[in-house]
Each structure stands twice: as C-alpha cells, then as structure tokens.
C-alpha cells in the first residue's frame, strides 16, 4: 500500500473511532435526559420519597448526596493537598516518599466495594458511627484521597520555577513561598483533582450503601443515615419500583454533574484569566 493511501485510511479510521465514541456518549445522555427530564418538576425536587419511592420526590436523596459529598471533599482536600505539598516541597525523594506515593497509587486502583467494606468495618462498626452521612463521607474521603494527592502533586510540580525563585529572592520564607507563589499557580490543577473527587462521590453506589445506608428519611444531622441519588437510582431500577422515577433521578444526577463541571471550569478559568 502506498504511504498516502495508508495515511488516508488511518485518518478515516481514527475519525470514525472518535465519532463513534462521541455518538455513543451522546446517545446515552440523550436517552436518559429524554426519559428523565419530564419527570423533574417542583414536587420531584422538594418532596420526600413516599411509598418506597414510587410516589413523591427525591428531596432527601439530593440532600444526602450533597452532604456525603461535602463531608468527603472537606476532609479529603486538606489531607490530599497537604500530602502533595509535603511530597513535593518538604522532602527529598526517598524511601518514605516512594512508600507514600506507592500507597496512594495502590489505593487508587482498589474497587470501590472494598472501600465500602473497610468503611463499614472501621467507621460504621468499630468507631460506632453507624450507617450515617459521616461514615459515608469519611469512606468517600479515603476513596478520593489518592486522586486529589496525585493531581495536586502534578499541579505543584508544574508551577514554573521562577515563581519560587522570585519569592525566595525577595526574602520570602518557605511557607510564604508556598502560600503566595506556589499555591495560587497550582490552584487550577488542584481544583481539577477536587472536581474529579466530587464526581466520584456523586456517582458512587456500592461504598455508600455499605456506609451511609439507604434510608429515605430526610437526614437531620451528620449522624443520620441517608440515601444518595445514585443509590436511590440503583435501588429503584434494580427492584423495579418505579422506572420513571429512576430515570428522573438519573437525569438530575447528570445535570448536577454537568453543573459541577461547568461551574468549576468557569471558576478555574476566571482564576487563571486574572493573570492573562
């Protein structure tokens, strides 16, 4: 085959593959949105599920999702970002940094159900937190920690060296240099890690069922059990309780994730654009 023919064929194949992926993605999204969006109305958003979810809305699962995610992100972000700064700024490459990095990488590859089991044994049973938003949030925090560490580390490493040099040369301490010169420049990258983490929390089912439970009541504190939207969707669909409400929940979940991603992007761009 002559080179220009193979070039042309390769181009067509690559384009076709890309188009197929986008088409499948769009088809799934459209399918769920078309089936689900008509279900979404004021009542759906504000009422508690009644009759196992057959009637009423999904308000308690929205609150459950937001609270579990908030706990996870608020706990995992400081630890993850702190670890990343420790690994990049405060230690030389050594056995310890390799062990920390290896542990984080391994953690990232573990199936979520294993985190669920760990959370169940440790938070629910051992610490006696019961099935609760707190147990679920902490379990999810452990789960998203590796992602936040890895993306933050990457972001910190790509901060241009001159920023550090300037800060030090003006008499900045290490801490001032990190807070004023390195952190702002790494922030967009760190934000990406946190957003990925949020996405995982919102979408998780297995680990959350085992740790936060699947109660339909409106949670009243962090110690209340709760059902997240993803769990609600899973149960509704699996038990065949109400396929319509399941689609409504799924559509809302997708919209929520889209809002988070777009919002985060806008925030990051705005932050970065300040310097442009």
């Amino acid at each position: 085959m002559n080179p220009s023919t193979s070039q042309r064929i390769a181009k067509v194949v690559i384009w076709a593959a890309a188009l197929l992926v986008i088409a499948v993605l769009l088809a799934i999204l459209l399918f769920i949105l078309i089936k689900g969006v008509p279900q979404i109305n004021w009542q759906f958003l504000t009422q508690i599920p009644r009759n196992m979810g057959r009637d009423g809305g999904i308000s308690s699962t929205i609150v459950g999702t937001l609270l579990v995610t908030a706990v996870a992100v608020l706990v995992a972000t400081p630890f993850g970002v702190g670890t990343a700064f420790y690994l990049t700024e405060y230690t030389k490459e050594s056995r310890i940094t390799r062990i920390i990095r290896f542990s984080a990488e391994s953690l990232a590859g573990i199936p979520s159900i294993v985190f669920g089991l760990f959370g169940f044994i440790f938070f629910v049973m051992y610490l006696k937190l019961g099935w609760s938003i707190l147990s679920g949030g902490l379990t999810m925090a452990v789960m998203i920690l590796p992602t936040i560490i890895r993306t933050s580390e990457e972001a910190i490493r790509t901060v241009p060296a001159p920023f550090r040099d300037v800060s030090f040369s003006l008499g900045g301490t290490k801490w001032q240099t990190i807070v004023r010169a390195v952190f702002p420049s790494a922030l967009p990258g760190i934000a990406v890690g946190v957003i990925l983490g949020i996405g995982r929390c919102v979408a998780e089912t297995a680990a959350v069922i085992l740790t936060a439970g699947s109660a339909l009541r409106m949670p009243t504190s962090l110690f209340s059990p709760a059902r997240t939207m993803a769990v609600h969707f899973y149960i509704m669909a699996r038990e065949g309780i109400s396929i319509d409400k399941a689609y409504g929940t799924a559509a809302l979940l997708i919209i929520l994730i889209l809002i988070i991603n777009v919002g985060a992007n806008l925030l990051v761009n705005r932050f970065v654009a300040k310097g442009k």
Partner: protein
C-alpha cells in the same frame, strides 16, 4: 542615622574570601577571593559554564535551594559572613536583591507584583504599600508609563517594561545589594540601554553585581570587572579582577586578553 551612610565610618563591605562551591562532588568554584566596591557596578564576565551565576548566587544564598550544595570559605555581606550557621537567610535576601535573566512576573497585576515583597515582610497598610509602589516605579522610571494601569496584568507590559518592573520589585524591599544575572539578555537593544542607564542611577545608592555575556555592555556599565574561567577540572577560578577600563584596554593575564579580544572580535 544609618551607620553605612554616615561619613567616616567603615563602609559597607561585600565580597568573598577563598570560596569554593561544590554541587555534590563537582567543584564549580575554586578559591575565589573578590572584594566588591560598594555603590558601584561590578561585572562578572567569563565563558559559559564557568560559574558566574553560581558566584552571584552565593551572595543571597540562592544556591541553598539546590540539594547537595556545599560552600567552603567566606562570603561577606556588610562585613558579616553569610554562610555562618546563625545567619538569618530571610533578612539576608531582603538586603541582597536579585533580578533574573528573564522577566519573571507573577500572573497578577502590576501593583500585586510590587507588594509581594513588602507583604512577605509583614507590611499590611495599603497606603504605605501604595507609597512603596510609587517610589519603586519612579526609581526605575516606569511610574509615568504605568501609573494609570497599576491594576493591569503585569504580563501585558512590553518585555523591557517587564524587566524594569522586576527591578522595581527588587527595590520594594529596600535592598543594599542588587544581583543581576544576564538581566538584559532577553531584551532588545533599546530596552537594554534603558536598563543600563537605570543601573548607573541605581549604583549611586546600591551595590550592583551583574553577570553579562555582552562585553560591550560590561565595558559600558561597570566600574570593576571580574574575569572568571574554568580550570582543567572545570572548576571556576577568578583569573583577573581590575577596574573595567584596565581589563578591557590592558589586561594583565593572557587568558583575559584572549577571551576579551575573542568576544569583541
């Protein structure tokens, strides 16, 4: 009154005494002794890789940031040995400022770039910060050009303006010594000349050490010149140190002569 400026007192002293510097096992400087004249411009010249930047970075201990660096001998700033264990490195860097090769402004506004240093040293009062901004911009003759755009992103200025802004940023923390590492090499000839003029002005109050590859520039701006070269083992040594006029018209060392004629060639 500040003791350095009061007449009759011992003047500010800066220099090195028998300094060697190692990057791990590699010796980058050998036994360099150099007494810098205060409130003048000293040019450090020499072939690439001979240790000019390394020598410069001794004075504000920026080499400390590189793992495995070891220094032997004495580096003096204001008569105090800066590699003593009890040296306050933060205070040292406040008094020995540095301008880098490329303008390296933070991706924020002109004003924000200028208040970084003072803020790091604990100044919070906005009015005082604004005074510092104006004073330092006037010192580098940039005030009239940017006074209406202090909120503009610093990186939208021309490269020449950016480098003057970097010098202004160095001045905001009121240093006594300014180190410049090839600070004109990224600039066009006109901006270079403006910076050279500026260096002349600043040398009335500040001690300036500048590294340059540009011999014409060294000849134009500096009062003293130090010629550095690599030994057989690639360690940098000071070959000749003399008033610039002498070094360029009548070098004592054959190697200096060869380098300078080669570079002017």
């Amino acid at each position: 009154m500040d003791e350095r400026t009061s007449p009759g007192q011992k003047d500010f002293t800066i220099g090195t005494e028998g300094v060697s510097l190692y990057y791990g096992a590699f010796r980058a400087l050998r036994d360099v002794t150099l007494e810098i004249q205060p409130r003048s411009i000293t040019a450090i010249i020499g072939p690439s890789g001979c240790g000019k930047s390394t020598l410069l970075r001794l004075f504000n201990r920026m080499n400390d940031l590189i793992p495995g660096v070891r220094v032997e001998g004495k580096v003096l700033v204001d008569g105090a040995s800066v590699y003593d264990r009890d040296t306050d490195v933060v205070a040292l860097r406040k008094r020995v400022g540095m301008v880098f090769q490329k303008p390296n402004l933070f991706p924020s506004s002109v004003r924000d770039n200028l208040v970084v240093g003072p803020r790091q040293h604990g100044l919070k009062n906005e009015a005082q910060l604004s005074e510092i901004v104006e004073r330092s911009l006037r010192q580098v003759a940039l005030w009239d050009e940017v006074k209406d755009q202090l909120k503009r992103p610093a990186q939208s200025l021309s490269v020449g303006q950016q480098q003057r802004l970097c010098i202004a940023r160095t001045l905001t923390v009121e240093p006594e010594v300014i180190l410049m590492d090839e600070s004109c090499s990224a600039l066009d000839p006109e901006s270079t000349l403006r910076i050279e003029e500026l260096m002349h002005d600043l040398a009335r109050t500040y001690t300036i050490l500048t590294v340059t590859h540009n011999m014409e520039q060294a000849a134009r701006v500096s009062d003293m010149s130090a010629f550095l070269m690599m030994d057989e083992d690639r360690a940098g040594t000071l070959v000749e140190y003399a008033p610039t006029g002498e070094i360029f018209s009548n070098p004592k060392d054959k190697r200096t002569e060869a380098y300078i004629t080669g570079r002017f060639g």
